[in-house]
Amino acid sequence: MTRAGFALVIGLLSAALAVLGLCIGSTGLESLRQMAGDATAMQIVRDIRLPRTLGAWLAGALLGLGGALAQGLFRNPLADPYLLGSASGANLGVSLLLVALGASPGSGGWAARLGTTGAAFVGALLAVAVTLSLARGVQQTLRLLLAGVVVSMVLGATAAMVVLWVPDIMRAMQAFILGTTAFLGWPSVALLGGALLVCLLPAIGLARALDALALGEASALSLGIALPWVRLALVAALALATGAAVAQVGLVAFVGLVAPHLVRGIVKPTHGWLVFLAALMGGALLLAADVLARWLLAPQELPVGGVTALLGGGYLLWLMHRRRL
């Protein structure tokens, strides 16, 4: 299959899923049918389902893009974009915010204005900053990886202790950890779209460098690639992409890992194409998971992170079975 052909297939699939996304919800197809006459039905379709569907695709695209970048940076086909600690940072940020919100009725003020989204985003960025400083810059990829793992573990444990200390927030934390698209409105869609555009630019610009990196760090250096700058730009793009996605939809597992992996299994692209196709694939995957999450137990919803974990885990099991990891 050619690369352009693959892009077309995924694009069509996403469009089909988007239409499905507009049809599924607590009120089913009724709302679509009554849209013209009924203001509430119109609001449901236009202001709730449409932004959710688009937001799910955009968040998935950000995660797919992040996954491609992470796999290129760490030269590991099973790297995922949370390796630099952004997920744990978001986790901790949200837990601290929930504690602040519940601390006293009036303190709502700044905490309410920041919101879960803001706290998660700030937490993710700060965690990556801590990873960078722990790894003492971007001189060595291995140090970066280890620092990321350390930061993930420490921040994750801290968040767990916060929840233990203030058990009131446990349910809210679980809801955040399992991920959901229920809170995506048009402002969220604008934010996600903006983040995607901002991250695509360095990603496509760095594509050649990522290809050269695939040959090994020494070979990449010998080809004239300015590795420290490349790594810094990659880390920044990763932080922004995962931070934005996690802030809006919670901790969604596996999309970042599976999307580029799937793309590489079907076509063999260079990073210029891979970055673009992985974003498309990630969008389609998360959208599919979201549609499933909303449809399986309608009118109730499954958490979308749970669905992606099941699907992602299933995919990896299938890969192991075919012995082609």
């Binding site: 086909p77 496509i204 040959l215 020494a218 070979s219 080809l223 690639i225 260079t270």
Partner: protein, 255 residues
Amino acid sequence: MTASVLEAQALRVTVHGRCILDVPRLAVPGGRWTAVVGPNGAGKTTLLKTLAHLLPSAQGRVHLLGRDMNQWGGKARARALAWLGQNEGGAEDLLAQDVVMLGRLPHQSWLGAPGPSDRAAVEDAMRQTQSWDWRERPLGQLSGGERQRVLLARALAVRSQVLLMDEPLANLDAPHQADWLLSVRQLVRDGRTVVSVLHELGMALQADELLVLAHGRVVHHGRTDDAACRQALVDVFEQRIALHQVAGQWVVLPK
């Protein structure tokens, strides 16, 4: 006396407090093929990496084509000096021709697409290493020898003045080792400089110059047709090899 393309002064590399390379002075002559030999752990790869400016922690000065390495811009240096490393994995999913095209990176602008001259260089390099026939196969599906030939093509595609190769004959069978020899001879005839680390001593003795390393120090550096050179080779391997001349070429056999 040919001018030297690579000059090094006071090279020192220390790892964990231990000095693994100590070369006060070295001059690699231009337009010739120099083979670097020595026992395991002698510092051959380290020397090559230092000359290629790939070890930021190395001390000392290296001059490429008369100019200090630090004054060469990244891309300009990459156009002048190509490197082929040893056992560098990865790139399983890239097509062979995409891998070889990477060798043209130093000649391409940041976002520029490959042009006709790039494609010509890639085809030329791949035909030289007999890997053109499977240019559309991903690297992960090639055998060890086929892969090595693709990576060799990548280094050749750079069309640089100086070529540094670390163990370029790994996994190659005899006919393809012979092909490599022919390529190197052609490069030298074209005026390029080749430095290669080789474990195949018989092949090393085909080179123009021999650089013998032991324990991080240069033990001998001179022409291969010099008897002192052959003696140095035997000495560095502790008299456990014997050199015999067969049909005009030197053959190395264990004693």
